[in-house]
């Protein structure tokens, strides 16, 4: 059985593990203040071309979103996101657990639009309603789609106009930026977003996400919030060493390109068979629409996720590739697709 269930089924990229092995018994400072972690921070700042950004290495995606929104919002302030936003659907109410309402709006291709943002903010007019304060986007989105530069500029302009912050969940950011046709680069992000994180867990690390805080108002006391919400590792260097390697010579983007390329192998096979898609993507997630017979055929050898049953009896499913997907596995799936009923 070969799994295409998600992008967190394997451990870390071998070079990451090597680095952890190499430094394992050297003594170093705790709580993420060690030299290697600080060097990883520098690598992030260099990558995005923003020397004044604050960088914090965090444990995982839900923790990162929870800490960021706890830090950025006052109790009556809300975050706006697409209805499929991870914070809205799959974080067990973590943001509400921190006291904040999530205002969800209909997504377009999995994405928040400036128009939807403006529309929901316009209905929040006085102190009997929450005050929308942060716009949350995932890039790549939960549906594998990618924000274009124009879309991000439109969101940035809307946020500026509305007095809001723009925050990007980048659990799959490298896959997004590495995707074909993406016109956004790391260097664009500090101008477009007030804060965002670069995902490690789904891109070669055992665990860890690199939070980047750009807007000066969002910086103060962020480490207090990390600790306050249980997100500060005593051995912070465990994450630091991983990002140090991932960012050292573009490994993170190499890994994302590989994940995308493996998805492309599968995508091509699906397209060749004329299989329709629930949503069109260029990243490491694919959402083809299969017949029951096709699902039965493929599920003999491959693990994938049922995404959404459709009214006509067919089913949208999800295949996910990753940095760890061997090309032979992608080819095997492509072959099976070619042979499926």
């Amino acid at each position: 059985m070969i799994l295409f269930l998600n992008d967190y089924s394997e451990g870390a990229h071998p070079r990451v593990l090597e680095a952890m092995q190499a430094g394992n018994l050297s003594q170093c400072c705790g709580y993420g203040l060690d030299e290697v972690s600080l060097r990883a921070h520098e690598r992030v700042r260099a990558l995005i071309g923003c020397p004044e950004a604050d960088v914090h290495l965090l444990v995982g995606g839900t923790s990162a979103n929870l800490i960021a929104l706890t830090a950025f919002l006052r109790p009556h302030e809300a975050v706006v996101c697409a209805d499929c936003g991870h914070i809205n659907t799959h974080e067990t109410g973590a943001v509400e657990g921190a006291g904040h309402k999530i205002l969800s709006v209909p997504a377009e291709n999995g994405k928040l639009t400036a128009g939807a943002l403006r529309a929901i903010v316009a209905t929040h007019t006085d102190e009997h309603m929450v005050r929308p304060r942060v716009a949350f986007i995932s890039n790549a989105s939960e549906l594998g789609t990618v924000y274009s530069l124009d879309e991000l500029r439109a969101l940035r302009a809307a946020c500026d106009e509305l007095g809001m912050y723009l925050y990007m969940d980048g659990a799959r950011l490298c896959s997004a930026l590495a995707s074909e046709g993406c016109d956004v680069t790391f260097a664009d992000l500090p101008r477009l977003c007030d804060a965002f994180y670069i995902g490690g867990t789904k891109n070669g690390a055992l665990l860890g996400e690199a939070m980047v805080v750009v807007h000066p108002s969002l910086k103060p006391d962020f480490r207090y919030l990390i600790k306050n919400r249980g997100g500060m590792l005593a051995k912070g260097f465990v994450v630091g060493r991983q990002f140090d390697v991932l960012l050292a010579d573009g490994l993170c983007m190499d890994l994302a390109r590989h994940a995308n390329a493996m998805a492309q192998v599968v995508r091509a096979a699906l397209t060749a068979r004329g299989v329709p898609f629930f949503v069109h993507t260029a990243t490491n997630q694919l959402f083809p629409i299969l017949t029951q017979a096709q699902m039965d055929f493929l599920s003999r050898d491959f693990g994938f996720q049922v995404w959404s049953p459709l009214p006509d009896g067919r089913t949208a499913v999800r295949f996910v590739t990753s940095w760890a997907t061997p090309e032979q596995n992608a080819r095997a799936l492509a072959d099976a697709i070619a042979r499926m009923p």
Copy 2:
């Protein structure tokens, strides 16, 4: 410079890293539901002789305490602890951040006593005050002291009488149970505590703590709370593999014994010099009282923590050993102590 600053300065025990390396590229289930994690759960249950206990592998100490108390308490319910309790002093208000008051009482040798517990509960009589509901203890305590079986039985009896739960923070539990003179075993814990955790971060793991929930009332929906508070790793197997090794053949207790033995090397040197102690311990933390000249002398080659300046001009300091402390380092410190002014 040799550091005796804390017990989280190094990475993981080599066997732990080996196990992570070995399973690194095999695909497995996420969120801690993989086979190795489930096997680690079984090992915990076997270790404590309690097949019906629930086990959850968590990320770190603050996160573990935060999740447990979030799960165990209603909003008006409070946790009682010694004034030096970690949740009271060094978790940046994480428990209050989850909405609960901490009632702190004067510690005796770093420990909560049944008498102090009864006394504070007695003053909480009606709905204008919080309702004390969980007694929190750290074992070993923040001052390196260890609860005796009698002390734990007295706390258990008090909790039963008062309608309270007893929860143990076991960040240094193995060191406590491995310490000379300790008459408590793992098998005692499920009878004494309603929940507790076995610390990994400070005892050979890169990160991770094994939460054990014994009381049936505290079990429901615990995994929801883990996710809700940002403590669920996508690659939960990262912690599972570590505990699988640590618990496989008694490694965790071997490591704790080593840490304690290294502390004993230093303790003996201090005692031989007639150095007084701020508090007497049998675990991996030492709190000698040094003169300024002694501090100056030792700090040339060794890192240690200033704990508390004393009125007479001397200073209580803290030396911490760990599973990773090479015997030659402990000997080097012992030698320096013998030579200090």
Copy 3:
């Protein structure tokens, strides 16, 4: 200018004020434990025929909802409501501020249906999502509509099946039960709802709502939660005396019938003119659809609320009557409606 803006523009019914005057200088027990408050509790229990219900007199609607949901839910548990539910739209995130996600579903005529409840619960399958635990309904709804006995039975059955509690916001409960065609009585409520409140603020009191907790699991420590959330008045008798009068001889239902009758005067005038309605109601709220010319005409002498601009240029507006609406005011509005363009 005669206001039909809402049902909280005037003070208290004269008999209520008289009672407050009469007892004003007698000394009595604080925090709602005085004799008159306890008698008001008894009157509530008699009214609903449920001697074992717990009654708590609270300050206002948001506070009542906030306290109830804080008391009833664990942190990962969510409340389901219609998208127009007051807690979802007009309480400034108070429920989220208490840590709980609100799952909103499309309303039917302002009401939550058993089908919508079942559908959203069905999508919440594991610990990565919140656990739906309370179904919230407002009766009368925010759109002035009333739940029928069949609708409530269907919701009760769904809640039983789904392991959920049914909670009713009764800010306008008397108006609902007094409305023409309503087949639900006070005596039905303890069998149908696990908890609900009987609104005072909008039905003759200066302030105050009577919370009724029926389900034994929801009763413990409710007074702690009232205090914990700032809802316990030192002079609790201020609310007690008001409910004592309102419930003494059916005054609360007399007031609700008056409010409904005044609405009927206006409704009849609108119907006579062939004015369409945004939603059909039988309570003290009316939602006619007016042309701009009609709005301009009526707004010269009457205050009312713009509810929702419609695509065709017309506007749904809201007229609200109350216990305090003089018949001449309702007639004046009816006359103007007859004369409007």
Copy 4:
């Protein structure tokens, strides 16, 4: 039985009730934005000589403290108070329920000192501990003592030096300012405090406290927080009318002077008998130390509170007078004191 149990046993001053009666059936704006409420705001600003202060009329003391601290603090920030502070002891964890740690320090005569404030702040040095941000004082204190101008200036200076806000709970502020020897006036408060409230509940109102926010950083969105925490009354004018009367021509200070004078009648009787005091006060609370025989004698005809049993078998008790205490009642108690064994 004549009660000296507390200062909230009676309703409102007759003039307050008259005003409520007079405006009862006039229609007015909701949520505290009516003309009379706004006039009450103006009266507060005039009283304290601070035209730029924001004023918010709130429901009660716990609610006021809860809302203020929710508005003023970020999640990792703490409030420092004397150990006897109301928020620390008798608000059922409301402040912690809003997510904030309370750092309590030993009180001197019921008061927080600048020295104790500096000392506790000095121990909070990094992100592993909460950040002390607000100093909380009650004036009069929970022990009936009053802050002198020098004491408040010292606290102000400490707060300025430490980057903290000074917040005063004024549940009994009028009694404090009206007390013999008090050298602080209303006009001093805006210079000394960043925010404070003037208590109504214990000084002639049915309910209500007037929150004053002076520091510009604490003003934004305060009304959102009132609503978010359930403290906004639909009929806000109910509190507005009361403060309008209490502040119109000095009534609030007249009432406080009366309460203090009645306490003085009792105090003189106790002093004449040589009864010692647990703490010396000049306000409406008295804490004499009685023998069991004296308690038995007095409790036949008078209600008072057992405050604290003393080691020598005697008991500190509390007598509280109020605006509503008839002189004959105070005299009756004084007479009984003269006759007690």
